[in-house]
Every structure is written in structure tokens, then in C-alpha cells.
């Protein structure tokens, strides 16, 4: 995406989260401000346990920030919003619902007619390659397939912004690579603003238009990188490797 075409979709202003643990305070996110551009693939990269999930939950409205504001298309929002979807790190598929029932839950809760919402859900299930698994229960699926249901579910609700919280963190390396290509393919088919969180540098450079590098706990923005490599990217490319070297020298690899 060229710099001139950038249009701010989501703006986070001075967001903080402090928890009270017995008598002491614990700050998970400290003064984070950032802008997310329309239809960009933004990667938030940070070491484990650095408050990334808390930051995302606040953007998605699942948790309330201690202070700070979130603006969507210039308007301040509070709580969850139908334009912001989320794919959870720990999946969050509902075990008592079939793949179809899990996928259609967004429009169902919004009161969309059954035939209509199932058509939408089917469309995205086909897109992620789960044709024929509509009647299966989550426990019958492999890890990669479960994560695909999570992605289809988020897309079926048709949000403008999709937040993915370390979605491939629990997959084996092989599945992880194919899922990375999959998510890029879907993003190119259905343009949406994506906020993708990871702790993996290679994954970040492979996917992102921009990378926001977070420091260790509490989460604080350390640096922002524009990735101008053309897609499809090659992890053995010299430009790729150079970026990788540069970012790792700035990353606290503390876990």
C-alpha cells in the first residue's frame, strides 16, 4: 500500500491497562498509541507475556482500558463493535455447536434468517477448505481445521477489522506455513483491515504491510517498520533476511 493512500481506520490513543493484584499494581499495557490504516495487514510483534492479548482485548472491546480511547472511523467506541471481529489464540470454538453452528453464530445473534446466514457461513467454510465438515463437532477436527473454523466464523460476521491473536501459535510448523499462505490468500480475496499478532519474526515479515514492534512487559511500542517487499515473499530472499536481522536486533527475546 502506497503511503499516500493511507486512510486511518482505527486509532488507539494512549491506552493503558493496570490490574490490581492484592495490594500491588501490575501494568500490562502502557501508553500505547497507534493508527491502523484501512485494508492494511498490520502485524504486532512482541515477545511472549508482554501484554499483547490484553492490548487486543481492549481494541476489540472485550476488556475495558484503565484509560485511553479507541476510535473507529473517527468515532469513539466503547465495548465490542460489530465491525471488529476476532480470531482467538485459544480458538474459542463452542464445543456444543457443530462447525456450521459455530460459523454462523455472528449473523445468528444479529437476527439474520437461517437460510441466509447458513449460505454466508457455507461460503466462508468453502473458502477455508472445510467443505463437508459442516456437521462435525470441534473435537473431531485437527488443530489447523479448528483454527480455520475460527477464521471462517470471524469472516461470516463480515467485520471491517479482523484481529488475529497469535492464531497459528499452537500449530505445527508445516500447518503453520500453509495457514500463513491461506490467510494471505483470503485477505487478498476479501480486503479487510487485519491486525495480526505474533511472537514470530519470520511470520511477521512474511505477512505484514507494517510491523509494530512491542517491548517487554508492560507492552509499549518500540519501533514501527514498513515492509515494502513484494508478495509472495520468499523467506530466503536477501531483503527478507536483512529485515529479519534488523528486527531481531531490536527485539527483546525475553520469554
Amino acid at each position: 500500500m502506497s503511503v499516500e493512500n493511507r486512510q486511518v481506520k482505527l486509532k488507539i490513543e494512549n491506552i493503558n491497562k493496570t490490574y490490581q493484584v492484592k495490594k500491588s499494581y501490575f501494568t500490562a499495557v502502557k501508553n500505547v498509541s497507534l493508527e491502523v490504516y484501512k485494508n492494511e495487514f498490520l502485524v504486532i510483534l512482541g515477545p511472549g507475556l508482554c501484554g499483547k492479548t490484553v492490548l487486543l482485548n481492549m481494541i476489540a472491546g472485550i476488556e475495558q482500558p484503565t484509560n485511553g480511547k479507541v476510535y473507529l472511523d473517527g468515532e469513539k467506541i466503547r465495548g465490542t463493535h460489530k465491525s471488529i471481529g476476532m480470531v482467538f489464540q485459544k480458538l474459542g470454538l463452542l464445543p456444543w455447536k457443530t462447525v456450521m453452528e459455530n460459523t454462523e453464530i455472528g449473523p445468528k445473534l444479529a437476527g439474520v434468517k437461517k437460510s441466509e446466514r447458513q449460505k454466508k457461513a457455507k461460503n466462508f467454510l468453502d473458502m477455508v477448505g472445510l467443505t463437508g465438515f459442516e456437521k462435525s463437532y470441534p473435537h473431531q477436527l485437527s488443530g489447523g481445521m479448528k483454527q480455520r473454523v475460527g477464521i471462517a466464523r470471524a469472516y461470516t460476521n463480515n467485520p471491517d477489522i479482523l484481529i488475529l491473536d497469535e492464531p497459528f501459535g499452537q500449530l505445527d510448523a508445516q500447518t503453520r506455513y500453509s495457514m500463513q499462505d491461506e490467510i494471505l490468500r483470503i485477505w487478498q480475496m476479501q480486503k479487510k483491515t487485519i491486525i495480526f499478532v505474533t511472537n514470530n519474526i519470520e511470520e511477521a515479515i512474511y505477512l505484514g504491510d507494517r510491523i509494530i514492534l512491542l517491548g517487554k512487559c508492560p507492552a509499549e511500542i518500540k519501533k514501527i517498520y514498513d515492509i515494502s517487499l513484494s508478495r509472495p515473499r520468499n523467506v530466503m530472499d536477501s531483503g527478507f533476511l536483512e529485515l529479519r536481522k534488523m528486527i531481531s536486533s531490536n527485539m527483546d527475546l525475553a520469554v
Binding site: 472491546g61 472485550i62 460489530k82 474459542g92 463452542l94 464445543p95 463437532y137 460476521n157
Partner: protein
């Protein structure tokens, strides 16, 4: 091949073991019956008494009717306990307001054993059908409430977050997320309630009734008919086990995603 053969042999060994323990029990029974016939009816006598009972009903009520009377009392009471108990349990587990309002009262009444209600219920309602059903209801209602509330409280925060991100309202949250997530806990409660209800109905019938399994066993006591008591005890055990199987069956039908049991 060798392994399969070994497995097969050990299977036979364990089957023989469990069979022989049953045989041993019956042999012990026969031994006791031969030593103290006035206290222990022999297996043969017990069987003959059963046949006699089937041919000549007690109080003109056939055996199966006695059993059905007891089952009907438990059934009605447990059904009511589930209906009210699931509602109150959900409310207690979900709403701070309900918990503060009714939680304490409930916690005070709950520990009173059902049997302790018998004198009051008898004074208030006599010994008809209603006080019996009410007694079973009192004993099983609390079990359903406690299990439901625990299930509702233990719903995964992640599942609630899913409801939130898709903008579920309060009612949708309960219907789509909280209640299905609590179903296994609710069913554990219903299973316990059936077992406890079966025990309470016997107690209620032993204290005053004109039909039912509990009545039969007291009747056996009053006329010194140990064979009749034995028959009743067998039937009570078998019905109790069947109730448990029935509850598991219904649970599997209603919660098909639970495959681990």
C-alpha cells in the same frame, strides 16, 4: 499375534474372577441361610416368595404397580425439581442481584436433611401423595440448584468473550453460551437427584404409605417376612442402577459433543 492371544487369556481370567465373586456371594448366602434360617431366607425361598407375590398381590396391588407408584412419585418430584432448580440455579450463578437476594436463605435451608422435614410435612399435609412428592422435591431441588449454579459459574471466560465479540445480549448469552456450557454439570446434578430421590421416596413410604416399594419393605418387617424384604432390596438396587443408566443415556442424547464418557 502372541500379544492378542495374551490379551484374550487375560480377558477370560478377569471374567472368571468377577463371575466367581458372584458365585462366592451366593454360596455365602446359602451357608448363612442354612445356619440361621429364621434370619436369612435361602435363595430358593426368596425365589418362591417372588413367584407367590406375583401370583397373589399384597393389598391387591401387583408388584409392578408398587414399583411404579414409587417411580411415579420420584419422577414427578425430580421433574419439578429440575424445572425450578435449573431456573433458580442459573439465576444464582449468573446474577449477582439474585445471589445476594436469595443466596443466603438458600444456603441456610439447604443443609437441613430431607428426613427432618417429615414431621412437619405430616402435620401439615397428612400421609397422602402430595407430602411424599413434596419431600422428594425438597431433597432433590437443592441438588439441581447447586449443580446448575456451579456449572454456570464455571463457564469458560473465553466462551463468554466469544459471545461478547459477536454482541450477544443477555438472553442470547444465556441461551447460546451459558446454558449449553453448563449442561454437563446440570446433568451430573440430575443424575445425583435421581439417586437421592429414589432413596428419599423409600424413606417417605416407609414412614406411612399404602403402596410403593418402601411400603412393601416395612410390611415385610412388620410380619417378619425376610424373603419379602430381600426381594424389595434387590428391586430397589436394580431400579437405582437403571435410573443411573437412564440418566447417562439421556445425557448422551442431549450432549452429543461429550464423547469422553
Amino acid at each position: 499375534m502372541e500379544k492378542i492371544k495374551k490379551r484374550f487369556i487375560s480377558e477370560i481370567f478377569y471374567s472368571i474372577l468377577s463371575l466367581s465373586s458372584i458365585i462366592l456371594l451366593i454360596l455365602g448366602w446359602m451357608y448363612l441361610a442354612s445356619k440361621r434360617p429364621e434370619l436369612f431366607p435361602s435363595p430358593q425361598e426368596t425365589w418362591d416368595r417372588l413367584i407367590l407375590f406375583l401370583e397373589k398381590p399384597i393389598r391387591r396391588i401387583p408388584l409392578y404397580s408398587h414399583v411404579l407408584d414409587s417411580l411415579r412419585r420420584v419422577g414427578i418430584a425430580v421433574l419439578l425439581a429440575c424445572g425450578f432448580g435449573i431456573v433458580l440455579g442459573t439465576a444464582l450463578g449468573w446474577s449477582r442481584l439474585v445471589k445476594s437476594t436469595f443466596g443466603t436463605i438458600f444456603e441456610l435451608i439447604r443443609p437441613i436433611p430431607p428426613i427432618a422435614w417429615v414431621p412437619l410435612l405430616t402435620i401439615w399435609f397428612g400421609i397422602g401423595e402430595f407430602p411424599k412428592v413434596l419431600l422428594v422435591f425438597i431433597g432433590t431441588f437443592a441438588i439441581v440448584v447447586v449443580n446448575t449454579a456451579a456449572g454456570v459459574k464455571m463457564v469458560e471466560p473465553l466462551s463468554l468473550a466469544v459471545g461478547k465479540i459477536f454482541q450477544a445480549n443477555e438472553f442470547q448469552m444465556l441461551k447460546e453460551i451459558v446454558l449449553p456450557a453448563s449442561l454437563p454439570a446440570i446433568f451430573a446434578g440430575i443424575r445425583t437427584a435421581l439417586g437421592v430421590g429414589w432413596a428419599i421416596v423409600l424413606a417417605a413410604e416407609m414412614l406411612g404409605a399404602v403402596s410403593g416399594t418402601g411400603f412393601l419393605i416395612t410390611k415385610g418387617m412388620s410380619i417378619g417376612d425376610t424373603a419379602l424384604i430381600f426381594i424389595c432390596m434387590f428391586i430397589i438396587g436394580i431400579i437405582g442402577a437403571l435410573l443411573s443408566v437412564l440418566a447417562s443415556f439421556i445425557e448422551r442424547r442431549i450432549c452429543p459433543w461429550k464423547t469422553d464418557r
